[in-house]
């Protein structure tokens, strides 16, 4: 049953040093507030999983939280590179990180397999790609019925998954609307889960086919108003494309980045 905690307490309880953590959100509903709390609590040696590690993972990597990143597309969407990710991979700052890269299709299937309690995901994937030569987690198997060669990847089973959503009711049931990405699968695949929400309401006001994650499938819910900014929360506020563009200049330089982190994450407290 979901427990209502402060963001500080939820992160302190469920994100341990060395944990495997998935903070999902496919451009929409990215859990920035939770990511900043992880940075403030100086979590270390995390294996960060995410289909599209964007600015929040750039910040976590630059802040020294990551040991390894498992991903399928690592960029600043529509803008360019993630300079903190590149600096860590290319020059080892603030320390060297390992990367393990997949395609979107494989990661989406791996989350789904995790949610389904399966050890692996099978897909018609990676044909002719050289990704299997640099990622030993990509194998090929033969279909026992047709003999077709299919790709197989291990399912994703994070220690903790963190997502952001529109709202929860007082029983802890959560509504996710708009671009729902792979968030539901991430929660169901994980041992523990934290969902940050814009607000707690008496009535979710959801449609019959809406993406609702029941409270009994979630570990903790924390209110984080505007918790997805600078990404967006459908029905609540828009995406700050301006910040995504500004991030390019901030992240390019180590000193500028460090100063930004001090001003916007460390020195704002956990109410930010």
């Amino acid at each position: 049953m979901a427990e209502f905690l402060s963001l500080h307490d939820a992160v302190a309880r469920y994100v341990q040093d060395g944990a495997t953590v998935a903070m999902e959100g496919f451009t929409h509903l990215i859990p920035f507030a939770a990511g900043h709390e992880v940075i403030r609590q100086k979590k270390r040696e995390l294996t960060l999983i995410r289909m599209t590690p964007d600015i929040i993972y750039d910040q976590l990597i630059g802040a020294g939280c990551a040991k390894k990143v498992i991903f399928s597309w690592g960029g600043n969407p529509g803008v360019g590179s993630l300079h903190r990710l590149r600096d860590a991979v290319e020059k080892g700052w603030p320390h060297k990180i390992d990367i393990l890269e997949h395609s979107h299709a494989a990661m989406a299937c791996a989350f789904e397999a995790g949610a389904a309690g399966l050890p692996l995901a099978v897909l018609r994937g990676y044909v002719g790609s050289e990704l299997p030569s640099v990622n030993d987690q990509i194998k090929f198997i033969e279909c026992p019925f047709t003999g077709e060669r299919l790709a197989a990847v291990p399912s994703v089973r994070p220690d903790v998954s963190i997502i952001h959503a529109q709202r929860a009711d007082r029983q802890g049931n959560v509504l996710v609307e708009g671009i729902v990405g792979v968030q539901k699968e991430a929660v169901l695949a994980a041992k523990h889960s934290i969902v940050t929400v814009e607000e707690i309401v008496d009535d979710l006001k959801s449609h019959p086919n809406a993406c609702v994650i029941p409270g009994w499938a979630i570990s903790a819910i924390a209110v984080a108003e505007k918790g997805a900014l600078p990404s967006y929360t459908h029905g609540y506020y828009g995406r700050s494309n301006r910040f995504y563009k500004e991030w390019d200049a901030i992240a390019r330089d180590r000193d500028t980045f460090t100063q930004w982190l001090d001003d916007n994450v460390f020195n704002v407290g956990d109410q930010a």
Partner: protein, 257 residues
């Protein structure tokens, strides 16, 4: 009077014309997205555009900055979870065309969006494969659009993120359940298509005002030209007007955020 237009506009209009009305197109962000929406707003009003963020049959008023902008969801017929998008719609064989951009392309239309240099010690780390590896093999065919330069058009890509026809041109031979692969590459200088036998990219059409040496100078291999080399039709006044309106709307919308 001759119409004034830029080489980028020539590229977008030519890429847009590649899409036929009624096709289902899995759209990559950037140039492919610009071309696909231009097609929808001109000759192909019923082209079905889907983006990997889960938006099915979307009709954005402005071009999205990212693959998951709210505009795509709000103007879509419906939005599905990302696993469903890749499993049912793409892998399930419901997509006619995958429309992709890339950082590097080689003579066999293999795409590299992973890195420049050596994998363990990259000179430049690029974003990675994203949806492209499976879009390129599970879609019926693939259109590619990118600007022509020696940095982008290399004899051999540093890394095959996404299959064109493999490093020997035979990468799709005898593979069951695979699409036709790249059928055309549209640049700001020309249109290229794979040779039916060897699968090497051949220039089939030059854009107005472009000559063979312009293409040779911008291509990192000894590029071949078709015997029946065509001249790409110029953009029409209407196409240019709609493209410019689309870009101006997009710029205004993104400037305010």
């Amino acid at each position: 009077m001759r119409l004034e237009y830029t080489s980028s506009e020539m590229m977008s209009v030519t890429a847009a014309r590649a899409l036929e009305n009624g096709m289902t197109c899995f759209v990559g962000i950037g140039l492919p997205s610009e071309a696909a929406n231009l097609a929808r707003l001109t000759h192909a009003p019923d082209v079905v555009l889907i983006y990997e963020s889960g938006t099915l049959q979307t009709k954005p008023e402005i071009l999205p900055l990212s693959i998951g902008d709210g505009e795509l969801c709000e103007s879509a017929l419906t939005t599905v979870a990302v696993p469903e998008m890749f499993r049912y719609w793409l892998q399930g064989g419901k997509v006619n065309v995958g429309f992709l951009g890339t950082a590097q392309i080689d003579r066999f239309a293999n795409l590299n969006t992973t890195l420049i240099g050596d994998y363990k010690a990259p000179k430049v780390r690029l974003p990675g494969g994203g949806g492209a590896p499976e879009i390129a093999t599970n879609a019926g065919e693939v259109f590619i659009t990118l600007k022509h330069s020696r940095r982008a058009f290399v004899k051999d890509v540093d890394f095959v993120t996404t299959l064109g026809f493999g490093r020997d041109g035979k990468g799709r031979d005898n593979v069951p359940n695979i699409g036709k692969g790249p059928t055309r590459v549209i640049t700001d200088l020309c249109v290229m298509k794979p040779d039916p036998e060897t699968k090497e990219l051949v220039v089939v059409s030059l854009h107005p005002g472009i000559n063979r040496s312009d293409v040779m100078d911008a291509t990192g291999w000894e590029v071949r030209f078709a015997e029946q080399l065509e001249s790409t039709p110029e953009p029409s006044e209407k196409e240019l007007e709609i493209l410019r309106e689309l870009k101006a709307r997009t710029e205004r919308a993104h400037a305010g955020e």
